[in-house]
Amino acid sequence: MCVAVPAKIVSISGEEAMVDFGGLFRTISLLFTPEAQVEDYVIVHAGYAISLLTEEEALETISLLDKLEQK
């Protein structure tokens, strides 16, 4: 029930955005993440973005994971 998946914002019109779930496109609401911009990744649950994925954080985690792997 708390399934939420990342999607990339393709376009924004007012409070709504068209997002790309890896090939599946859908209109969602940005009510809870009004700061989101086109090209940002958001986590979407039941038609609403519930968080703006910070690419910085995601990349930082990935680089930590990379370091782990190289050990």
Binding site: C2, S29, D66, L68
Partner: protein
């Protein structure tokens, strides 16, 4: 680049498992609260791959599973009213009522029941069917409740007067406390729900280390995310330093999503809620404020549902599965009478229920 690919990397997965195996510790039991974690843990065979001294239990984090029998009966009764359309998440269709009925059977008998992805879809149904009353069955935790609240505010804004919500929403920290207060199972750490925490924030869980001395690690839902969360719990146990560790910081902030929280509490207030398996827990549910009463299906439709005479009369053991007292295969009906196609209990209905996940991805 695909941000998520790394979080599914099998070689990295094996590397973290090996790291965990190298840490020699006494047997530990961790519980995942969230049903989406339950499903992911089974899907990725994490239970099987973990070091043998780490045992996982599934908690009360599947909303369909913990919904009280009376509320299920109430939902089915609403579907039989004349001129009503029920809008619901698909998980809820097959949950058995106390008389053996369910929403799917009600639909076969002529009730108008629509499965929706979002309450926004239910609003659209209301706009297209002005002569009907559209009731959205509001189940879910803090992840979902702000969205349902937003749908009511949208109905206000757009002057939609045939939209109603039957709120069965529940709050996760009080249920976590209830499980610990019961003291029936000994836990060494809790894997924190990533999307509930995205809304309520990591700070909302500080009571676990401070009051219960309980290690807590918030985790995302990819295989690597879950392992990183479990690895954090393991380290906290070894260091004997229980904390709230946020391993899903790409989505979870300390304060959560304050806009979503404010929207939720604009429409709802904390109220006593009845949980399957846990009973009545104060301030663990969300009811609609009187200022939005015209949208509250509990007030707008006059239905009296009797208390179920004998709970668990047919011997369903979902209430024991939810509290972590038994594993699904220990239930007398698991896999013989109770299957996902023909579920006897709620834990077999939802894909997030422990029994369903066990059935679909078990390793025997």
């Amino acid at each position: 680049m695909n941000l998520m690919a790394k979080y599914k990397d099998p070689s990295l997965f094996r590397y973290i498992i090996k790291n965990m195996s190298d840490l020699s510790v006494q047997p530990l039991t961790f519980m995942e609260f969230c049903g989406t974690h339950t499903q992911a843990i089974f899907k990725h065979s994490i239970r099987k791959l973990l070091p043998k001294n780490i045992k996982m239990l599934s908690g009360p984090g599947c909303p369909v599973c913990v919904t009280d029998q009376k509320e299920i009966d109430h939902s089915i009764a609403l579907s039989h009213l004349q001129g009503v359309i029920i809008a619901t998440f698909g998980d809820f269709l097959k949950v058995p009522g106390s008389d053996g009925s369910n929403l799917q059977k009600a639909r076969a008998q002529g009730a108008d029941i629509r499965v929706v992805y979002s309450p926004l879809d239910a609003i659209q149904i209301a706009q297209k069917n002005k002569e009907k009353k559209v009731i959205f069955l509001g189940i879910g935790f803090e992840t979902t409740a702000p969205i349902v609240a937003a749908s009511i505010l949208k109905a206000v804004k757009e002057n939609i007067s045939n939209y109603y919500v039957f709120s069965m929403h529940k709050l996760t920290p009080p249920a976590t406390k209830a499980i610990l207060n019961l003291g029936e199972i000994k836990l060494d750490g809790i894997l924190g729900p990533g999307h509930v925490s995205t809304i309520i924030g990591s700070l909302a869980w500080e009571f676990l280390p401070s009051i219960y001395n309980m290690p807590f690690a918030i985790s995302g839902f990819e295989a690597i995310d879950i392992l990183k969360g479990l690895e954090s719990l393991l380290k906290q146990c070894i260091d004997k330093k229980p904390q709230v560790i946020n391993t899903y910081s790409r989505s979870v902030k300390p304060e959560g999503n304050t806009r979503a929280i404010n929207t939720m509490f604009e429409v709802f207030y904390e109220d006593v809620a009845h949980w399957r398996g846990l009973g009545a827990i104060p301030n663990s549910g969300l009811s609609i404020k009187s200022s939005y009463r015209e949208f509250d299906a509990k007030h707008q439709f006059d239905i009296e549902i009797p208390d179920s005479k004998v709970l668990y009369s047919y011997g369903c053991q979902c209430h024991e599965v939810i509290r972590g007292l038994i594993e699904p295969p220990e239930c007398r009906y698991y896999k013989n009478i109770c299957t996902p196609d023909n579920p006897l209990g709620a834990c077999m209905v939802s894909s997030e229920g422990a029994c369903s996940a066990y059935y679909l991805y078990s390793y025997e």
